[in-house]
């Protein structure tokens, strides 16, 4: 296999990461969520597209992604050592999917529209296939994972082919410029999202640091006074009804 330049970087990072104890399981759990999230995006596209000829393709793609989610979940559980609960927790926490791109207020299809959505599918599936090629190469000593990546790669070839064919149809219909622009927007957005993910990690770290300092310097001394003054009641207490009529009380958040 001849790797593209950026894939050497992926290969180098992955070869270290995948060898860390328990990391393979967590990566598989993460992939499971990503694929499940993609499945939901594709189901939403099935429902929202106005192109009736696309519905069956999106639906089949959705079922593929949901199948991949299951395969990754199975591998994550198989690779997880008994004491490794993080992968388990990730697999059980559906809200984790949100971190992998699901926007609850609007589906990806609604945000992008048909053409840009297809461009997104084409680029994302290509990138996924490249990644899985690298992982297959790295996991030669794990035949089960290799077989799984090979099965998924087969499905992804279909996803790449149909999305490219649809983009070509738009091009042939005189929308070459729009297709080019959509592909460009998707590529730029992927770069921006990668940067945002890094920013979030950095922001989280900084926030935790500052909150830790605040906790020790401010909450520490304050906790002495709190313990002296705050008595937590046991058993029944009489509810306190604040002054003011009911409408006034309802207008207050606290």
């Amino acid at each position: 296999m001849i790797l593209e330049r950026r894939d050497w970087l992926l290969w180098a990072i992955s070869s270290v990461v995948w060898r860390m104890p328990g990391r393979g399981s967590i990566k598989m759990a993460g992939f499971s969520h990503t694929e499940a999230g993609s499945g939901l995006d594709m189901l939403a596209a099935t429902e929202e597209t106005t192109r009736r000829d696309m519905r069956a393709k999106y639906f089949r793609h959705a079922l593929d992604e949901l199948k991949h989610a299951r395969l990754f979940k199975k591998r994550a559980l198989a690779l997880a050592p008994q004491e490794m609960s993080r992968a388990q927790a990730m697999l059980e926490d559906s809200n984790f999917i949100r971190e992998h791109g699901i926007n609850a207020s609007e589906s990806l299809f609604s945000r992008l529209g048909e053409l840009e959505f297809l461009a997104f599918v084409w680029i994302a599936e290509q990138r996924g296939a490249q990644q899985f090629d690298v992982y297959t190469d790295l996991m030669k000593d794990d035949p089960d994972s290799c077989a799984m990546f090979a099965e998924i790669a087969g499905d992804e070839r279909f996803h790449i082919a149909y999305s490219r064919a649809e983009l070509d149809r738009y091009t042939e219909a005189g929308q070459a410029k729009e297709v080019k622009e959509a592909v460009g927007r998707v590529k730029r957005r992927r770069f921006l999202e990668a940067w945002l993910r890094f920013s979030v990690v950095l922001g989280d770290f900084m926030s935790k640091l500052w909150l830790g300092i605040l906790y020790i310097l401010v909450l520490g001394p304050s906790s002495i006074f709190a313990r002296l003054t705050e008595k937590q009641p046991k058993g029944f207490v009489m509810p306190v009804i604040p002054d003011g009529d009911i409408l006034e009380r309802a207008q207050f958040q606290g």
């Binding site: 939901l40 937590q232 029944f236």
Partner: protein, 590 residues
Amino acid sequence: MSITVLGISAQYHDSAAALVRDGVVIAAASEERFSRLKHDASIPVRATRWCLEHAGITMDDVDHVVFYEKPLKKFERLMVNQLLHFPKSFKAFQRSSMIWLTDKLWVRNNLVKQLGVHPDKLLWSEHHLSHAASVFYGSPHSEAAILTVDGVGEWASTGLWRGDADGITPLLEVTFPHSIGLVYSAFTAFLGFRVNNGEYKVMGMAAYGDPVFKDDVLKVLWPCEDGSFEVDTQYLCYHYSATDSYTKAFEKLFGVPRFPGTDFDPTTPEGKRYADIAASIQSVAEDCLVALATRIHKETGLDHLCMAGGVALNSVANTAILKRSPFKTLSVHPAAGDAGGAVGAALWVWNDVLDQARSAPLTTPGLGRAWSHAEVSELLEDLKVAHTDLGEDVCSAAADDIASGKVIGWFQGGFEWGPRALGHRSILANPRDPDMQDRVNEKVKFRERFRPFAPSVQAGAEERYFEIPDGSDQPVRWMLMVVPVREDQKAAMPAITHIDGTARIHVVEEEANPRYHRLLGELGEKTGHPIVLNTSFNLKGEPIVSSPTSALATFMRCGIDVLYIDSFRIDKANMRGLDRVADTSAMADL
């Protein structure tokens, strides 16, 4: 002129939106049904959008938007507890501060920005008040005692109320960290299930055990003489930990916790120990709830009890309350958990804040989005799914399939309000087949073998199969009571009879769900038994299906034989093209 109130619950778990017009709940839906993320806690943008579309209005036409709790009070409770538990609360402080300072504290802005609400229209209810209003104003009673019990709201974990013509009046409350719900959740985590998700599995597991650890559980949670209860916080850490709910002292008391995902076998000593612990916490929780109910009866002297809050979803405890307390009737809101706060908050505004005529009781659970015959037909054509339109014969054909041992998916009308599948989005099967429980658990739902299935029975026939306590008309409509199966029916109904000889019954009235009622009637004619095994139409870990597309996707990934959507019949044996991905064989491994 109409008055429209939109109720919103969000930010903790199970966010939802509900629309009340002139005192009638015309639409209510959990966000998870749209986002497909189980227990989705985000601002319910899609659910709200659908509620408005369903009513044919825009946000400008809504008179009031009410949030189901007071966020600043909740934040105050968090901060006070973190101060009190310095330095053990270090991680919880970091985690909750990041969530609250970046998101939850700004709920007002979030509602304005994400839902397009005018700030002047915003009102704020209280957590337990919303629960109380959801059940009292949804019940047929003009006056009733109200008991709300859940994990925790702002400060209260339990509320005792009186509802009458003057509105809802608070009488007494028990405050955090004393909480039946949170202690039950600590045991849920100990027994290897997910908190806020697996509590009903503990209830199911309890039937396999005996309450031999009751004395130990009573060291953690115990009822008091006055009807209240207390907890010993040395065994618990939910008040200062972001991730754990019980301490090492708890483990010392009850032994090694069950590892999540491991098989539960009650015939092994280890399995029996876990079942005994589940039975013990269930028993103590019931004792606490009966004591609370007895106290509120003493306070109010009323015959009717209304219950809401997550603990009111404990259908075994509901039966105990009705049997052991002085109340003559019990009502429980179908969405007794936090989602129900959306309906409750809106009903509270209509009835108490606006002081309007008493709202109409809830009669049907199908308050969610429906899809028209034409929409379904178009989808099936587009997906090239082989189907037959049966028209009015759909119930007869479905009854034939069930009688012949097939497992069917049943998708009809608007989806249910609340966590129970009540014949709108259900998987149905023959309850008299001795292999059916294992088959549905292993091949269809891919869930733990020990978990029982519920029956739906046509109204009027329930006494033939079950021993139903008087005064349970309301909870049995929402599948919120567990009752004994009659001795002579236990062997005949193996798929819905739990190990302890009980069943979580759903009585189907015609007005609540006409087509499902007719299906049961057809089954009665064909088999002599108007009763069916009914389980939610979803796979393990996923929300119940909402749209025809999600129903088809679930159908393709599990062992359901036939799918009925509206009047269409889809037989898996006739599926073409999509069978390549319809791989159900490996699902059982998960």
